[in-house]
């Protein structure tokens, strides 16, 4: 009988062993990695390069004479470090990421390929314009798509992100008022507004004044009208708003703000919901930023880089920041300097021309979808959100009646007295393999849960998600076991982290041991 070789079936499980911990701290595919600074050994290096020529130094006696303190590693070590790190992240590629107001949709890889193409990814911002006609044509074509989608007459391409775009829009408004010699002081915002709105207004010398919401979650038109006056510079309105609802009085809001000589700034964070169904230009908007990293799927990259072009009405277009592309008879040039005049550009917002890498990705995305696909995006995103809304609204309370746009909003009223909070539900979702929804925003809704599924998800994914949420909420409501939730997440690379300790004595860098 041949009795060598490996066993071919698992042995019986015996009780009483420590099943939780390992010698290394790793758990099979869950691999830990120390800080890069804890790994180096002098003498290793992760790059090769030719030896420098012997020359007379021109550093003027300013040679660095101390070590920087960087660790030395080989290339495979570096690869392993970052591969291990990456595996501690949740991502849209791996699972459902219904983070409200962030539009976590699929990121097509043709966009990544295009951004790295020769002649696109490797060109220098200060090349003679005669050598970058293709790049300028690309920017101009993207501008055409953005203007057509929004029904606006101009677009400032350079802002680097949503908040930067917001700053661009409000600066254009300020510049337009200044050009007319008008000194206005107030900007009106609904109380559900993003925190960036007041921060932006403050940088432009304006004070924000909050307008209350109606019971249906939209801005209170009467309260808005009562606050209007000749000192109001404009209104900043997110539409669809941060509660996932379309501001159905938007045209009246536009008329009212225009009647006092103010401008209408629309926060375009939620543009995904209305692509091809309506155009901000038809709603009376004067300026709106577009988050290319949300609506047009340039990847979020763990928190950036973003890109926030701003579409502008005729009234604000002359104040757009430099630089911008000018096309004349198929020949492209760049206007890089502010030209003096009564109505002139308010200045420059970025070192160079904008987030070109994001422009390339966004245009590839738009070309892939086309006019029909863009409209389908909005329809499927709204369909999916409403599907989740009706799938959960017998267990969770929707604070506002009626259909939603691209995100479903619930409050925590049905969790009252269970000992389980919105945060606990979110952390339990992690154990179920989801990225949690946006929580505690908008602030106007108690214990808010804001769920944005996007158009990327299948019906099967949504059904399973609804089932998981129902399971958790029913458990919270009936099991009388808040401890189960407080311990979540149990299966993530880390348990809940102590944010208080982090903020009380901030440790913001590694320091060499003495």
């Amino acid at each position: 009988m041949l009795n060598v070789g490996r066993p071919s079936r698992p042995g019986a499980v015996t009780q009483g062993h420590d099943l939780e911990s390992t010698y290394t701290g790793n758990k099979a595919l869950n691999l830990e990695t120390p800080l890069i600074f804890e790994q180096g050994v002098k003498g290793r290096v992760g790059v090769d390069m030719r030896d420098p020529k012997e020359v007379k130094s021109r550093l003027g006696g300013l040679e660095r004479n101390e070590e920087v303190g960087l660790p030395d590693l080989s290339e495979p070590q570096v690869v392993r470090h970052y591969v291990r790190l990456s595996r501690q992240n949740y991502s849209i590629d791996a699972g459902f990421y219904p983070l409200g107001s962030c539009t976590m949709k699929h990121n097509p890889r043709i966009n990544e390929k295009a951004a790295r193409m020769k002649g696109l990814g490797d060109i220098h911002p200060m090349q003679p314009v005669s050598t970058v006609q293709g790049a300028l044509a690309l920017i101009d074509d993207l501008a055409h798509w953005l203007k057509t989608i929004t029904g606006m007459s101009a677009v400032a391409m350079s802002p680097a992100a949503g908040a930067h775009g917001e700053l661009c829009g409000i600066m254009a408004i300020r510049a337009a008022h200044d050009a007319k010699g008008e000194q206005r002081t107030r900007i009106l915002v609904p109380e559900s507004a993003h925190g960036t709105n007041p921060a932006t207004a403050a940088l432009c010398g304006y004070k924000v004044e909050s307008v209350p919401a109606r019971a249906d979650g939209r801005m209170d038109l009467d309260a808005f009208e009562a606050k209007l006056g000749p000192d109001v510079a404009g209104v900043m309105l997110t539409n669809p708003n941060t509660c996932g609802l379309f501001e159905n009085d938007v045209k009246k809001i536009a008329d009212l703000i225009h009647s006092v000589g103010g401008y209408f700034y629309c926060d375009g964070a939620n543009l995904n919901a209305i692509l091809g169904r309506t155009r901000p230009g038809d709603l009376g908007v004067d300026a709106m930023h577009i988050n290319l990293h949300k609506t047009f799927s340039t990847p979020h990259g763990g928190g950036g880089p973003g890109s926030g072009p701003v579409v502008l009405s005729d009234a604000l277009a002359p104040y757009a920041p430099v630089p911008f592309v000018v096309e004349e008879g198929g020949n492209y040039s760049l206007q890089e300097q502010v030209e003096e005049g009564a109505a002139k550009s308010f200045g420059r917002m970025k070192t160079f021309h904008g987030q070109m890498g994001m422009f390339i990705r966004a245009l590839a995305y738009m070309l892939s979808h086309g006019s029909d696909g863009l409209r389908q995006i909005a329809e499927d995103a709204v369909l999916n959100a409403n599907y989740i809304r009706v799938g959960l609204d017998d267990l969770l309370n929707s604070p506002f009646e009626g259909v939603c746009m691209h995100e479903a909003l619930f409050d925590d009223s049905t969790l009252k007295d269970t000992g389980v909070t919105t945060l606990d539900i979110a952390k339990a979702m992690i154990d179920e393999g989801y990225h949690p929804m946006t929580m505690y925003f908008p602030l106007v809704v108690h214990g808010a849960m804001l769920i944005e599924p996007t158009e990327s998800e299948t019906k099967e994914t949504l059904d399973l998600f609804i089932g998981s949420m129902r399971h958790l909420i029913e458990k919270a409501q009936t099991s009388n076991d808040p401890e189960f939730f407080v311990q979540a997440p149990k299966f993530a690379p880390r348990k809940r982290l102590d944010e208080t300790a982090a903020a009380r004595s901030p440790i913001l860098r590694w320091t060499a041991p003495e």
Binding site: V47, N107, P128, N197, A199, T278, Q355, I360, H369, Y387
Partner: protein, 449 residues
């Protein structure tokens, strides 16, 4: 459509579950006269193959620095990026994650940010750094705002030789605030008196090293003079590779160091996205704008990382926030960090030395051309050349020969007198001897024409 999964039957079933008869019923809140009935006037959806071809066609119309001798700088620099960098940042878990608001499932991004912050603090010689800004110019503007807040003063002085775009972005950013900026006029001889107006009303002095024309200087005396009157010294670095060879701004007494991190790990990409660096002293940490990652422990006592000090941010402070900025340049800071990890102490120093030696060797050859002068006594890898002809014309002629020969100073400073013939030339490790010889030959021809 390849990106959207629903079939017509599924859509119908979902509408039924929702309790509406058509998709239009979900868009009823849009005012009737603003609803689009037909499609937008744009092409319809396209197969991936067609999109690929279209994007290639855009690229083909540009002269790629990968296939032409290129000596461009002025705030963006061509360097070799190891293949590992682009591979790693394209891993799904980095590329398609959001801001790490759920730390339990975002330790990858968070630990990488913590390491990035440490690297930036180390190379700048500062105590702490943030998780990055949009780019160098926006970081510079934020430094001025921060200095005004930290000192409770309202005025900043900008050096004459700060990158003109940095100055413009700073001017633009502060123009509607209570703060003001005094800019000294650009000067090619580098002589300026930054201390003439330096008094107890000045929040900070902003100076670039190497400066816009490539010159290096010791800023220690300036730092002392700033500190004597309670002002901060802000040092701008646009070519971060220089820090591998040159004494750090922190070592010279800077209070805030801002810079452009593109040179390490980030492709040129026609000007963006890049990665703004921001570092400062420990005592100003709560005044620092932007995102910060900090170390802490989890319920089990295991080390972990979280976004921290978020009370400074606009979500909470609203109009009193340190800045209106929400995002950092996440993926670009990751690319920076991976490239820096590959370089290490030895590689970073050698890369800097290589850049300097290539530039010095090229400068010697260029200054030997009749009628062409290298104006710099000191430089790192970028220097200013005076041509006998307008630099704008020269770069067009060079481009016609397939050489990207430098950046005319007049492109960034069109209204300054006496700068028409000045050309900024950068030489990095990516330039071969043959590249330099081609440039020298072409410049000879232009100078003698």
């Amino acid at each position: 459509m390849r990106y959207m999964p629903h079939t017509a039957e599924e859509r119908q079933a979902m509408l039924q579950k929702i309790g509406v008869s058509s998709i239009d019923d979900l868009f009823v809140d849009i005012p009737e006269d603003a609803r689009l009935t037909g499609l937008l006037d744009l092409p319809k959806h396209a197969p991936e193959m067609d999109v690929d071809a279209k994007m290639l066609a855009y690229g083909a119309q540009n002269l790629s620095p990968s296939s032409a001798p290129s000596f461009l700088g002025a705030g963006a620099y061509r360097h070799h990026v190891p293949s590992v960098v682009d591979h790693l940042i394209q891993r799904s878990e980095f590329l398609t994650a959001y801001t790490p608001y759920q730390p339990e499932i975002s330790q990858g991004t968070l630990q990488a940010l913590f390491e990035f912050q440490t690297q930036v603090a180390l190379i700048t010689g500062m105590d702490v750094a943030n998780a990055s800004m949009y780019d160098g110019a926006t970081a510079c503007a934020e430094a001025v705002l921060m200095a005004c807040r930290a000192t409770r003063r309202k005025k900043a002085i900008l050096s004459c030789n700060l990158h003109p775009h940095y100055r413009e972005v700073t001017d633009t950013t502060v123009q509607f605030t209570d703060f003001s900026v005094e800019s000294l006029p650009p000067s090619i001889d580098g002589v300026e008196d930054l201390t003439a107006d330096l008094g107890k009303d000045i929040a900070c002095v902003v100076v670039q090293n190497p400066d816009f024309f490539g010159r290096l200087q010791d800023l220690s005396d300036l730092a002392d003079k700033c500190h004597e009157v309670g002002a901060l010294l802000v040092v701008v670095v646009t070519e971060v590779v220089s820090l591998g060879a040159v004494r750090s701004p922190g070592d010279m007494g800077a209070d805030i160091v801002v810079g452009e991190g593109q040179s390490i790990g980030v492709p040129l990409s026609y000007g963006g996205p890049y990665v703004g660096l921001f570092a400062t002293r420990q005592k100003y940490v709560r005044q620092m704008p932007g995102r910060l990652c900090g170390e802490t422990t989890d319920q089990d006592g295991t080390r972990g990382f979280v976004l921290t000090l978020s009370t400074r941010e606009q979500h909470i402070r609203r109009e009193k926030a340190t800045s209106n900025i929400c995002t950092n340049a996440g993926l670009c800071s990751l690319a920076f960090s991976i490239h820096m990890s590959l370089l290490g102490e030895v590689g970073f120093a050698k890369l800097a030395k290589l850049n300097h030696s290539e530039a010095a060797a090229a400068a010697d050859k260029i200054s030997a051309i009749d009628g062409v002068d290298v104006l710099n006594e000191t430089f790192f890898n970028e220097f200013t050349v005076k041509l006998p002809v307008p630099a704008q014309d020269a770069v067009e002629k060079l481009a016609a020969k397939g050489i990207l020969g430098g950046v005319p100073v007049s492109r960034l400073l069109p209204n300054a007198d006496g700068f028409e013939n000045l050309l900024l030339i950068t030489v990095t490790e990516t330039n071969t001897d043959d590249d330099v010889d081609q440039l020298v030959a072409a410049l000879k021809e232009i100078a003698n024409a």
